[in-house]
Symmetry: D2
Subunit: 386 residues, 4 copies
């Protein structure tokens, strides 16, 4: 009998950066650590490059898994994709979302059980997940075509791991790729190569943005959202008409390769979760929340009190628009040294005010991005169907 | 023939703190400077105590009116209530809202013209405004019972000026009162009196909060929202069950008395504007926006594209909740040194995402307040009826 | 044969908040963990109330000692006084200074060996240390007379522990005492008692300042710098003519009693360290560095390249002056939201520019304090004599 | 009879950004506005790109001169070089230094009067000043070789204006040049040209740094500090062995050409001022203050109370070192989001603690620069000789 995926997402609050008590209980009582393929979350802290809150949370999480899996903390990243975004401004609650995947016998009766959904025209697919590690990305390749191709290959591999062949079934691809460091730049120079930038920050010429955007274009190429032939070094952070609707990417100086977590829906899958997405057309597009929930399969036109219980996890990137005009009015977000912080706070507020959920993944702060459409932002929702 | 008020609200963008070009055009072409009773607005800048953006905007506005009215800039405040709130984080657009009031003949046909509204049970009242200057408030009285009584008297005077007798018709009372300064504290000591605090800031023991909250209780007392007999020095910033739903208050060290601007609806009034309010029950209560618009008289259950055109001006205070728990989740807003900035950004986002308007008055950042219910925030809306 | 103290101070850099590698080596190769009585230091991070860098460093240090001493991490504080100050702005290097104390036979030849010093009129005393834990300080007592008396008792106890009877031999008293928390305030109210403030912060009415200042007055009372009869609840943060020259105090909500570390010089002591102090008369008084080094026993009128090698550790608190005038010019430090950060950076710069040492203890950021003279700052130096 | 320069520098405090009362008095009673060639200063504010404090001060200063000279405010910049640096962190006092230049008859007796200086080997030269406006610098040329050459030409022109031929007599060259703007970048693209960067900020790839550094290399080329043949586009912000000891440069998006103010000493000059400089070898090199004062002609080895009265004005740029190591210790200044603010505060502290002067020009915050030697900072001093 063939086996299919049963993916669960457990959202756990953290009382302080080092608080992994809920995670310990989950691994002791509900989820086998060997089934965990990813930990996504928001940690309290500054949200800047050196964020001790995030580093503390990251170390605490690795430590729990190292003990559970009886491996070294350094080896945890080979097994589990950890994507922690620093800073919980506004109404965001520090938390982690644990993604676990079991392979269960394919139950034909489950298929029949959902026949009603199928007949009524509703989507009867269920959440599946795939992960992949890319080849190494050298400092001289970060933010350039080689980076794009390497991520695209890893995304295809993750689709394969998820058992998904139709890009239309993919609703979210989280990528964490290498950024630049002083050491990496020096190493590239030692090989007679330059790097795309020497700015290590998140500014418009910063290595973080170049890396995040090359990763996004890699996702777009793998999913056919852009034609790979249209891509070259020069389009990165330049031709904003090229983008992915489902990429949410980040980068860190400590990484040497990209990690990919892909979430999709599949016909033959167990469990009760489903994922959907709808990009925001601009930073005020709150209708996208409803759109993503509907896309995920929640009935009705607006999230009601009932459906709020069915919302499992929401994810958004909040990109600062490249223009200082929003719906005709001048805004000062680009001039705000706290703009990255404020952008995340607004994203968290959007998701909490529309659904009541404060444990959501809201990252961002880049100015312009190939993540989501020009002036817009990517947004995804995981829901539980009865 | 008796005369009634015709109140207009003109919302004008500012391209930089000193930009009063739109205001100049307004006064040259549309509004007589002698009819202006208040200027409300948001100026770009830090939003902190010493905010050069706000000071620049304030000076530029006074200068325009001084020239128009052929008076000294220092005398403008005697004629016009200026309430500028500093800081336009997020999606707020720097702007001013000019409130002007003309006395026009009471037109019985206008009354008939609105007979349809009356018969259909809709509110046929229109916006009126009243202003008042209080007696002086000494430093030793700031934030105490004498302050409360003085503001209450001024609010009653402003109701009289507005021609309103039913507190239920009052939807917004803006108060700007004295705060403490080192000089004021020294002067009080010289008289053998102490002051409510020596902290000049906006923290929980800060003079700004004590002043704002005494002003709010003054409004509540005048409007019968609380029983004046229930008030004494000790309830200020202590008994949060006492509050006003319609007070939005601010304070400044440079002031020696309170200024009051009261907005209400009245049966016998000209023009097409009407005001409504609905306090937010907590910081996520986005339904209050719709509630305030409905309360102001916009038909339908949710602000549609059509009704968005009818929205003239929105006002909210964003109070940081006293608890670190929001809908069950822990939030870090209280620990955030940028919390005051983030709170305003979230308020601006709320109003813009629900109505499309980025030129709104969003002030706040206090932790707890007698402005609005416990854990909640005051919110008002001015709309244009056809 | 009687025994005397031999106190050593080992200053160790930290490469990141959790880096305790140098500490591990010290405890493995040079210092017995059972001899360590205090760990003082600066950790990188925000320097604000919730500072994850400091919390991470604190936990890592406790963990090392718990393993070395084979006790629980929670029990480490009963054995070792840990005073970590958060934030290393400017030219400060993250580090810890480990204070260890051994009891060694009193060596008369050592006494003779220093006879030259004695005869030449130089101070022949050597560094000794004393520690004490106070009785519990209840929330309702924080920042008040009971707090002052409790700290004074603990300081006397620490003098006894150090074997010092002349207050003139005491050059530094570090105190870490309880501050207020929401829970503590509620508990006090439950007992029908109020607290000195409800502001938990470091502002002029903040609990941190009240606690730090009551501790400083406790030190001053124990050392006879002020007459205890001159003290009452009302002088705290009010009568700045009362102060200690040698108190450097801090406070934390997690503490229930005060910890005291006292550093002094004594005739009968082994080792080669000596301590001196000289308060800065104002924030620009760089001559105090030379004064403290000379007071500690370094010869010559200014710190030379030679004497720089003899400087072991420097400590200063940087209090923000209560006046906006400095040497006749207006400064904006009081209005600067980053003032606490800038004040520490200037203190670190002072010590590094005059001595070349970047691993110094520089805390502060309070506005006005009983630590050091009015408008001034306390400063101490530990040096190594040949 | 030939005429020589008599240059005066008047340092005036400002009580708020718009306070030009001292400047008004100066122009009414002491200095003819037509003689003013430059206004240098520090304005309170954020010190960031959009700094409303600086903009307010700038507008107020222009307004005063426009009235005095009976010209339009927009025309003031054609007559007077205005270099305001935003942000007065720490112990810096907001102020302006007004540089005025009169042409007076060359007095042979003055020459004789200084014969004693000449014979005693002391420098008998006096301060002279020269100013120049460069040709336009197009956005596509900013930060590149054409920018360097254009500034070099203007510096030579300013030397000519100052009447100085020996580069060794030049101790300070202030340059304010164009930076990039979104409009400028678009205009360059419209001409088929790219720009050196698209980052408008002060980061390591930011337009502000590229502009400041090309200006510094232009100064170095004109003064022969570097060989112009060694320069090309690629050395800018790359080969740090090329630098000027006397360049202090800034840039703004509003400018279309560079303004140069050159200060030097000359044999045939009237007045009692003289200028000197000595670059700091690293950020802790406080001996450079004494060096610059001595270089300017103050006798004695260290600035005494007496010589402090003779100090007229001090200027320094505080460049953040490119390395995270300082004298062997790790510092966190590069990771500090407030690093630019802290760097200026430390520079202001250095000058105030060594001389007692809080009204100094301290700008900076760039990471690495061709202003001053690698890891070092430029520093200059103007003194008054009897």
């Amino acid at each position: 009998m063939s086996r299919v995926q049963h993916v669960e997402v457990s959202v756990l609050p953290m009382e302080r950066p080092s608080d992994v008590s809920a995670l310990r209980v989950l691994l002791a009582e509900e989820v086998d650590a060997r089934d965990v393929i990813a930990v996504i979350g928001k940690s309290e802290g500054t949200g800047l490059g050196r964020d001790q809150g995030r580093e503390t949370a990251d170390a605490a999480i690795r430590d729990v898994f190292a003990r559970s899996l009886r491996i070294e903390p350094e080896a945890v990243a080979d097994r589990i994709c950890i994507v922690l975004s620093g800073g919980t401004p506004g109404v965001l609650t520090p938390h982690v979302a644990v993604v676990s995947r079991r392979w269960v016998p394919d139950d034909p009766t489950a298929g029949e059980g959902r026949e009603g959904e199928r007949q009524s025209g509703q989507n009867h697919k269920r959440l599946v997940a795939g992960a992949a590690h890319s080849r190494d990305i050298l400092p001289e390749d970060v933010g350039r075509m080689a980076h794009i191709r390497t991520v695209a290959d890893a995304v295809r591999q993750a689709m394969n791991d998820a058992g998904v062949s139709d890009p239309g079934d993919v609703h979210l691809v989280l990528v964490k790729a290498p950024s630049l460091t002083p050491e990496g730049i020096a190493a590239a120079r030692g090989r007679g190569r330059d790097t795309v930038t020497s700015d290590l920050g998140i500014g418009p010429e910063g290595a973080i943005c170049f890396s995040n955007d090359a990763s996004a274009l890699g996702v777009a190429a793998a999913l056919g959202e852009v034609d790979e032939a249209a891509l070259d070094d020069d389009v990165v952070r330049s031709d904003w008409s090229l983008y992915s609707e489902v990429a949410m990417t980040s980068s860190g100086g400590e990484k040497t390769h990209a990690e990919v977590l892909l979430l999709a829906n599949a016909e033959r899958a167990a469990g009760s979760l489903r994922i959907g997405h709808q990009p925001m057309t601009d930073i005020l597009d709150q209708a996208a929340v409803d759109g993503a929930l509907t896309n995920a399969g929640l009935p009705g036109s607006s999230p009601s009190a009932t459906s709020a219980d069915q919302v499992v996890y929401l994810l958004a990137k909040m990109i600062i628009p490249g223009s200082a005009r929003l719906r005709g009015g001048r805004i000062t977000l680009q001039d705000d040294p706290q703009g990255y912080h404020v952008a995340k706070a607004m994203g968290g507020y959007l998701l909490a005010a529309t659904t009541g959920h404060t444990m959501s993944f809201v990252s961002g702060g880049e100015r312009n991005s190939h993540q989501g459409p020009p002036e817009g932002n990517p947004l995804a929702a995981i829901v539980r169907l009865s």
